[in-house]
Symmetry: C2
Subunit: 159 residues, 2 copies
Amino acid sequence: MQRYSFDTVDYQILQELKADARKSAAEIARKLGLNERTVRNRIDRIVEAGAARLTCIVDPAYFGYVITADIFLEVDYEQEQAVINALLAIPAVSYLAFGQGTQDLSIEVRFKNNEQLREFLRSVLPAIPGVHVKGYALVPRILRNIDEWMPPAEEFIEE
Amino acid sequence: MQRYSFDTVDYQILQELKADARKSAAEIARKLGLNERTVRNRIDRIVEAGAARLTCIVDPAYFGYVITADIFLEVDYEQEQAVINALLAIPAVSYLAFGQGTQDLSIEVRFKNNEQLREFLRSVLPAIPGVHVKGYALVPRILRNIDEWMPPAEEFIEE
DNA sequence: GCTGAAAATTATGCATT
DNA sequence: AATGCATAATTTTCAGC
């Protein structure tokens, strides 16, 4: 990947879009002292290159999904893909990653209350063939999420 | 929270914005068979209520940050806030959450190679007063992130 | 809370450097 | 890759329902 390199102008534009993805190119241009067309070209290039995407993040807490838990699973190798598909089909699953071993999966789930979480741990997960719950941890508070991540400013260099 | 409730129209608009946060209100209106003004009003309401935010997500892999690790920490209680501030100031830290115990923190970090991760585990983290590394796990692949999360459709009801 | 119409702003296509 | 210009599309403002 990384076919194109981006400079500090791109970095500033990304920061503006991070604050508000719908900010008009004209407004960004005024703020950064650039030409509107330049800003639009840059945004198009960034998005088309796949370096960033402009999206909408729903706040789980606003909708009452205040319970977050990390669950660690062991998965029978032969049924791995079926398990992954089953898990991704569950709306409560907000994160799914492979662990280090080929058998390890970790997921993050969101629920409205502890009863839903208990039900999920006791009934929903065990009902998926090939899944074994190794453990879980409640996550009381999240202070930063991946969507806030940016490469360090040094990555954006003048050519 | 949850002062307002949203309906299926809001749900559809959120899905459109998820695909492209810069999609024009006019285009969304055409696609969903709504009035442009209605779409803009809905978007404003959603964002002002804090139910969702329109933002830009940078792809770590594009910038070469291909190493992801989850690190589990134990933190001396008296220095908790200082530790959190120190961790949040580190760009590599893409996720930070409290664990179940008052002393537990878990973080996710992004690096370009294993050497940077080793350096972080061996030198950077131990240099923060009050931090003890309990363990870590490499995350080979992430299949879903929180930014893709949506409440189940049933949450969006007609009034 | 939805919609209409005019005015202001912004985006697009094409062309030039 | 950046920008100027003309045209098209969109958003905003102010209103009524």
